[in-house]
Amino acid sequence: MAAALLEFGYLFAVLAVVGAVALRLGLSVIPLYVGGGVVAGPYVAGRFGLPYVPNGEVVTILAELGIVLLLFFLGLEFSLDRLRASGAKIGRAGVIDLAVNLPIGVAIGLVLGWSPVEALLLGGIVYISSSAIVTKTLIDLGWIADPESEPILGTLVFEDLAIAVYLAVVTSLVLGGDGGVAAIGRSLAIAFGFLGLLFVAVQYGTALFARVLDVENQEAFVLRALAVVVPISGAALALGVSEAVAAFFVGMGFSTSGHRERLEHLLVSVRDVFAAVFFFWIGLGTDPTLLAAAAVPLAIAVVLSTPSKVLSGYLGGRAYDLSAHRSLRVGVGMVPRGEFSLVIAALAAAGTTPVMRDIIPAFAVGYVFVMSALGTVLMQRSDLVERLVFRGGETDGEASAEGA
């Protein structure tokens, strides 16, 4: 008991220190939390005989809560009505994004001789941009006030929906395991049955959600919200269904209950604590020597998926009728990858093959390190990127219509 508490003290101390470093240097906290976990975990501090945080059951459960709350918040801010309202543009930009980037990741996996499920995991990690890092950088750089923020944020909304469907399918494929087509079929049927029912419940249960949270006391409010989302997510996982998608749907249910702002306000620090533990936990499970084994796919993925995101983002910007310059910025703005790539990596780690258990998580950690830094730097130095791409004077893009 005392030892476990001390380990947790160590965990939070490391998070606080790397968090302070991130704040001071103006970096995203996500890769630093992961890095803190790697360094303070069994594979680095442990190997050197220093005190370390073991990758125990309690950390794993708290990290799981982090995943649930991350996706719960995504659902809270996701609105089907909004997607429908600006549907055509978001749809076009989002489909381009999906159609360009997911296949590239899948293709890299297949070329490396991985199984289709392993390749699909790689595809997801490469496809999904980081809402947290992209949004933070948009605000830091002031792009939030410019027209390019609309296709960027719109595409992120589409990705949220895509990742929910993706996780629902891939969780069944990974956890359904090696029982052949029949077993996979059955686990997919359970997943879509459970999530379908949950989806209907949140669409028509607005009044119920509103009643649950109708309480003045803050403590009771927070506990009630957790008492809905955590058990439902747990039930999903017990059935082999994605707990993350279940949490996403519950978030959607709460978002129309009239309590959205209060939920965001009161739960945001709870989410941040558990999300930080989740990123740390990802680091704990990462053996840096495995990064060497993942180096080849990592190098290929960085070289191919950076320009592919820039290209898909550029086309997405054009779908919003932006000029060539602004569209290029949309592309640059979509490059950072982060939390959702790591959520997929955590799913892969629960898999059965050595590639899923070892290579893919190590790949994801290395990939998020590179892409979060590279993406942020590209955004900060987008003037250089623009000069590089539009070499040889102005293009006709400047003259084209500007979105109002």
């Binding site: 996701f78 600006s86 949004t135």
Partner: protein, 161 residues
């Protein structure tokens, strides 16, 4: 005035106000309540951040811009300055005002109201301690001192209908 509103999912809302000279004022309202105010010089240029405000401060500055906040604060400070019931008022002489085109002596407002004119502002020019022969014209601003009720009567008379 044209205002463009757009959603910023996960961030908040954005309003763009056309300033008429091709530039736009961009106001980003975060879900946290924070406001960021930018100016974009032209459609092709990048927005330049002017300032940011907390939710509370934004509302206060908003009432100031609206003109709803100015008057009470002004009166309050002046009352404290002079103490008692005495205050200083600024009043603009309307085009239809009875006193426009007359000297201070002719309209004799001190007798009528009990408030005295201590200065006349005309454009950039200021006539301090004007005598009875000082001419008042439409568009002038009179600076008046006196008891609160006297000042109120004075303002009512000068503004005219």
């Amino acid at each position: 005035m044209t205002v463009y509103e757009s959603d910023l999912p996960g961030v908040g809302k954005k309003h763009e106000v056309d300033l008429g000279d091709g530039s736009r004022l961009v106001i980003v309202t975060h879900n946290t309540g924070k406001r960021e105010v930018f100016r974009r010089a032209s459609a092709d240029s990048d927005s330049e951040k002017l300032f940011e405000l907390t939710d509370k401060l934004a509302r206060q500055v908003g009432t100031l811009l609206e003109g709803a906040y100015f008057q009470p604060v002004q009166t309050e400070t002046i009352e404290t300055l002079l103490g008692g019931d005495t205050l200083i008022e600024w009043v603009e002489v309307g085009a239809n005002s009875d006193i426009a085109g007359k000297t201070l002596g002719e309209s004799d407002l001190r007798q009528a109201t009990g408030a005295s004119v201590i200065a006349i502002e005309r454009g950039d020019e200021v006539v301090t301690s004007p005598g009875g022969d000082a001419m008042v014209e439409a568009g002038d601003t009179l600076v008046v001192i006196g008891p609160k009720t006297a000042c109120r009567d004075f303002v009512a008379l000068v503004k005219g209908a």
